[in-house]
Amino acid sequence: MSTDTKTPTADEPEAGETPESKPNFMRLFGRYLTEANSVMVTIYSLLLAFLIGAILLIVSDEYTRSTFSYFFSRPQDAWYASRDLIVESYTALFEGAILNLSTLDRYAAGTAEFGDLLRPLSETLTYATPLIFTGLAVGLAFRAGLFNIGAQGQLIFGMMGALIIGFALDLPAVIHLPLAVIAGALAGAAFGAVPGVLKATTGAHEVISSIMLNNIAALFLVWAISTEFLHSETKTDLITKPVDESAVMPKLLSGLSESLRVNWALLIGIGAAVFTWWLLSRSTFGFRIRAVGFNEHASATAGMRIGSTYTTTMAVAGGLAGLAGAALSLGVGSAGITTNTALEYGFDGITVALLGRAKPGGIVAAALLFGALKAGALSAQPDVPVDISTLLQATIVLFIAAPALVKAILHLRTPRGGLVTLEAKGW
């Protein structure tokens, strides 16, 4: 029932090598590599996922598929076609996410600015920022044994909360921006608390209720954008008013180039990760979260109020997701939000939290990876289907969530403490 549960497996850890074999570094390292510990499972999950992605790219590409039809007469055609396709696709992802090699050439030749060189990285960080928040929102709830699928809805409400304060008030930037951010967090928290309250008072499973709330929030957004209060005064399509200049998140690297979109929300995100770490491992409330997540019955016996822990945890989680919404409506969506601004950040938060194993540091790292995938996929389309990022993400976390599968596929050893998996409760 806890976040990190040791799953006992049938086969015992090997009883060590023969006595005379002295443990040296290489042997230990080799042993570490072939063991299903959490680091190696993560690495192998990534490798397996990219392998599966490669296979799907080959299978679904018409030209490459056609070379396989005469595989037995000219196997080298199929080999070269597949190799080129994979190299091109994954290079395109890399160039969109980390470093564009042709820009590097131009930079070396003196025709490109240093800022241009940073653009892919800036895009990665821009997409990673909301993921940090939503990943924390899902991860924090995980620690209390709650599966918060509702980050998408919480994000949408956070987006609207920040937007309304962002354009409706007229304040100096020093007050306006923080106020808009807080409004986003509060709106998200209020919406996030609902599944917590429902679970605490009626026992309704948070997965079902938060999925319903996601759908309701998405429809609500469509309606809200079309209302006179929010709808843009100058444009006719479904877009809201822009936020005031005083509530826009300043860009981090505007000194280098205006096109670098990464903004201060990234710093708030890292701050939120530190806060979540502190909350979980240093505060009384965090202790309660972990205790309830570990064993709710024991916690109840110890005098903790389970219901209020569920409610507060979901509210804090909703607040974190709401911050993601604020980051969007005050950042990349500051010119007005559409139904498309939220993308799938809330759902991606689930995969981020799983890959980061519900630990703040891991979540930041996972958010960076998935942000890179997203930035890469968006810049590589239409040559590479944009959904390759979703596909890779889901495959990676599938393996993360089922370490036993990775262990079986690669014939890894069971680590000393057993396999580590994430858990949430049944109905």
Partner: protein, 425 residues
């Protein structure tokens, strides 16, 4: 309050029972009062609601006074609530709540269709409701087969997507729409097989994996959709004929609803009976239920728990995969990204509402199908006072209310979602 339960020892009493009656009673009483207030204060005294049997008796139209009918239905709802507050015998509770819900829903309907220019086209709406209840029905039946054996299938949404995508693809490749349906079933089977393997052999958390499998299905189908879009004619819409039962189709109300539908409707209804029979009247069903409630006991009686779960979950994929074909083939649509729009999750709620019982699932699916159909009809007629987005929210809101309010403490199979490791006994 159910007094007789108070005498039993506290450990054995389901303490939620009297509480739920009080809560449900209060809710229904409040809803009934709300309807009464609307009937007298909001609705105009001369307002009428028009009902038309639009497919068989096309000329007949029936006008009823909105205020009077609403007041009767509101009083009925409030009375049911008051009875629950006072204490209803446990075995009557279901009946009373069913009456209260029905009365409340109909009072809202009569209100909604009292706007000038709107007509309640009874036959179209009921026939459409049955048709729209099918995704919920297939999804929830698939869930029942899984969860009765103790495996949570949250991946119905993903199985729908796989079925919807593969159905169209296979139909286009073979040129045969029925081959497409079989293809959809196989796709569903393959996706649940992965869940079955992970849930039994690898003992992973079923809720987490189910959600991931949904994402995987979404990513996979969207990815393949983009890739195959480049190739011509792999994602064209196919349609299937409506089966008309000759003179039976001309009977008012029953005819259009039951005897003039697509094959999906008949398969769905037969499937309810088949799953019910299998679950409650066969050895397989007894074993399934035993494994879902107390796997260790079933194991000691010689049932291979994990093998039974594996096959139950795998075969349930046939049902949800076929449900996926509904989205494309039954609706004569081509596949589009994320076209299932969360209905797989609503199906899960339908399963809970139906209390893991095929007949309950049928009732729940019909309610949801009806809500969806009415929302669509009102939205299309333009006579609605409520914005279309709020009408589209209805199925989700109803799910939320039902899961939270009425059946908050619905009893899942005891071992639902708990992996079984024979070594742990």
């Amino acid at each position: 309050m159910a007094v007789d339960t108070m005498t039993a020892s506290p450990a054995l009493v389901d303490e939620s029972v009297p509480v739920r009656y009080a809560k449900a009673g209060a809710v229904f009483a409040a809803l009934g009062l709300f309807v009464l207030i609307v009937a007298f204060a909001v609705v105009g005294g001369d307002d009428t609601t028009l009902v038309r049997f639009d497919r068989t008796l096309t000329d007949a139209e029936w006008a009823m006074p909105t205020t009077v009918v609403m007041a009767i239905l509101g009083a009925l709802t409030a009375a049911a609530g008051a009875w629950m507050l006072a204490g209803v015998p446990k075995r009557r509770f279901k009946l009373v709540s069913a009456i209260a819900v029905t009365a409340f829903v109909f009072s809202l309907l009569i209100w909604a269709y009292s706007q000038p220019g709107t007509v309640f086209r009874a036959e179209s709406i009921l026939a459409g409701a049955l048709f729209l209840s099918l995704p919920y029905l297939f999804g929830a039946l698939s869930g029942v087969v899984c969860e009765r054996s103790g495996v949570i299938n949250i991946g119905i949404e993903g199985q729908f997507l796989m079925g919807a995508f593969t159905g169209v693809l296979v139909a286009n490749i073979t040129g045969n729409v029925y081959a497409g349906m079989v293809g959809a079933m196989v796709a569903g089977l393959l996706s649940t097989m992965l869940l079955a393997l992970l849930a039994t052999k690898y003992q992973v958390n079923q809720v987490v994996v189910g959600v991931i499998l949904n994402l995987l299905a979404l990513g996979f189908t969207s990815f393949m959709y983009d890739q195959l879009k480049k190739a011509e004619g792999l994602n064209s819409a196919f349609s299937i004929p409506t089966i008309s039962w000759g003179p039976l189709a001309d009977i008012p109300v029953i005819g259009p609803v039951l005897f003039n539908q697509k094959i999906f409707v008949y398969i769905g209804l037969v499937l309810v009976a088949v799953v019910w029979f299998l679950l409650y009247r066969t050895r397989w069903g007894l074993r399934t239920r035993a494994v879902g409630e107390h796997p260790a006991a079933a194991d000691s009686m010689g049932v291979n728990v994990n093998r039974l779960r594996y096959w139950n979950v795998t075969l349930a994929g046939l049902i949800s995969g076929f449900g996926g074909a509904w989205f494309t083939i039954a609706n004569s649509l081509a596949f589009s990204k994320n076209m299932t729009a969360g209905l797989g999750f609503v199906a899960l709620a339908v399963m809970i509402v139906g209390r893991w019982n095929p007949l309950g699932v049928l009732a729940g699916a019909l309610i949801f199908g009806f809500t969806t159909q009415v929302a669509r009809d009102l939205d299309a007629s333009g006579g609605s006072v409520v914005p279309g987005e709020f009408l589209q929210m209805l199925p989700y809101a109803v799910t939320l209310v039902v899961v939270a309010g009425l059946i908050g403490k619905a009893k899942a199979p005891a071992a639902d979602g708990v992996p079984y490791n024979p070594g742990d006994k």
